[in-house]
Symmetry: C3
Subunit: 301 residues, 3 copies
Amino acid sequence: MTRHLLDIEHLARADIASLLARAGELAAGASCASRAGTVANLFLEPSTRTRVSFQMAARRLGLDVVNIEQQHSSASKGESLADTARTLAAMGVRAIVLRHPEDFAASELAAALAGAEIGIVNAGDGQHAHPSQALLDAATLAHAGFEWSGLKLAIVGDIRHSRVARSDIALLSRLGAAEIRIAGPAEFMPDPDELPEAMRMPDIDTALDGIDALICLRIQRERMAASGYLDGAAFHQRWGLTADRLAAMPDRARFLHPGPVNRGVEIADGLVDSPRALILEQVRIGVHLRTALFEWLIDAA
Amino acid sequence: MTRHLLDIEHLARADIASLLARAGELAAGASCASRAGTVANLFLEPSTRTRVSFQMAARRLGLDVVNIEQQHSSASKGESLADTARTLAAMGVRAIVLRHPEDFAASELAAALAGAEIGIVNAGDGQHAHPSQALLDAATLAHAGFEWSGLKLAIVGDIRHSRVARSDIALLSRLGAAEIRIAGPAEFMPDPDELPEAMRMPDIDTALDGIDALICLRIQRERMAASGYLDGAAFHQRWGLTADRLAAMPDRARFLHPGPVNRGVEIADGLVDSPRALILEQVRIGVHLRTALFEWLIDAA
Amino acid sequence: MTRHLLDIEHLARADIASLLARAGELAAGASCASRAGTVANLFLEPSTRTRVSFQMAARRLGLDVVNIEQQHSSASKGESLADTARTLAAMGVRAIVLRHPEDFAASELAAALAGAEIGIVNAGDGQHAHPSQALLDAATLAHAGFEWSGLKLAIVGDIRHSRVARSDIALLSRLGAAEIRIAGPAEFMPDPDELPEAMRMPDIDTALDGIDALICLRIQRERMAASGYLDGAAFHQRWGLTADRLAAMPDRARFLHPGPVNRGVEIADGLVDSPRALILEQVRIGVHLRTALFEWLIDAA
């Protein structure tokens, strides 16, 4: 059976549980056995950190890695993504880690490949989903000692355009988080009928009240103008994590960011490296989660 | 002795036979022993699929791979190709897989390096030659059960600008194919004195009559205008493989394409994945052929 | 303890001695044990040959290699270099080989990362330093049989903009070279108070008189106009190594070049491959020196 990781919604509850448990074991020092095979990082949108994280995870298992980075427009030779994937499968590639600028690219690819023996991992498609990021966020929270029942969490910033927010909300609500709050500039909030699992908060201070964890989202610089704020400093004053806001959060509360952080915009420069930050822990556990993911994909085949 | 694969014409008959036989063994599941060493993919013209195929083959033998992808103009630092190759040889690289936009680039490089202990593999140079593609085409036909004596084959499309066609014709005629036919728009036919081994056919239907195998060539989109056809659909109607034309071919006949296919241009969209197509089989066997090629290169040194 | 290679000045005398000795052993055929871990080539300025040399060295030790090549401006997502490095460290990368267009980029990065367990190797920063090149130049001279006491050496060309010249002079003067001479067009000479270890010579013929070794520097084509010479030929006549000038050098004298050579500019075309040239030997020993460097970095951690 060929497994895919397309989004959180299509992942069985048992698979979520086993991926998170295995990532926790690996983060705590468990070893892993080598596997044979090759995986391809097919990135039609640049992302060095995500590509490297998948590469480190694959190599840890002894898997070979083929990196393919292209401009999306430069599917220039006009080959469809499905034909590229079928070609890689025919060469013996066992899984494709796909980064794509368009919503649902990973799901559509998996559907087009029905029957082919190649796994598809969605490493971020448009504004739709980034499931491995959500899984590593959950694994990071679990490793930091949080339990789902009773967990109050806020996601702040550009929710509207964020595949991270969508996958985080889908996963944490399935895991049973007590409260998932979202907050951000009006232009950055999702449509009213979207994301019913999340509580919409009018401002960041209300959103942070009594929470256990805050996920700050990255603001794309090119969207700043459209946000209604003049610049990063203005955004920070209204929607950023400041020292005062961190002080007002419960002592147990921690904050996350999918990276890279715009220092002084989403988070005050001096706080990024604070002990309350789980940002580098997300990166560290991300490699473990992706290692667990490749084990799950390859062993199913 | 340092071996090169520069074109079909310079390959000894015994080497052709052993490369094809070994590719067939590997395609049928034979294992291969590991080799030590590093090969460099030096691509001055982009081609993800060819680069990945060589990389998969090298890794299967345990060889390390260095990927170097440059714009040809960006031999920008002004270093000659021969100096780049001598530098790689001095670093310990054992073979260079060269893709180059200019005719005879691989042969000229090998000549410039006389005495250096580094093998050159021509992975496509201008419109001149693509010998590993021809070898994998032949290995695919052999694996599909065709025998050279009596084989009638047609190559259709842009013959004039095709290194694949030139290498295929050179190889298949040396192997003893009974008939090699070529057909295409007048602007895409080679000069009258070129390719005397091939029979020129006036139209595709005549070319396909009674054949065992058809090799469709890729049309460069930028050459469509110069072809005398308005667009891909017009080309397809006159020179493409349609369902009717496939039905008119003998039952035993199969078709190939070096990829990537322009669906609906060279081949009707619905036929690309038909059981009569050997296109993905070419890709699969291509890795085996290139594995055999690296064995042959490295073991000779 | 985390080790870095930032420039020659910060390298302990004992470390210089052990790196050169180990490079000599490896160049003479010594074997090396495998290490576990991953190193990242982080190149914000293109340099295929330096990147490949580090990659070959790392792979020889069994280290995995992550290649990250970016335009410097395209720290485009606005992530600081230090945040990139912290992210790589969190992923488990053990050393970063950094190429950067700005002076002191490597030192500033190491300072920003104080406490992080990741080694920084300066693979060339602006016009400041290129310490692994200087070390391989010294290892090449030593392997060719030269001894530091009594060594008379000239560096000719664009001294002013050359990180290679600065690191070579720093290293060779620390090693005790008897005379280090520099010469070049007035516009290419360093400021009067810079490089006091070097003797300034008025012309190339005086600079070459009685020397043991000549290091020719690469001229950037884009600086030729500013050099006061019309073109490469004019530069060559006045400042290049010609057959006559080589004949006037002592028989024992050899010449080096960091590569790639502009043939006919810094060195007459026909001399580049002469037995007096150590240019490919620099490349060969460069891999050994960098292997020694990775051993030294990884084993310290």
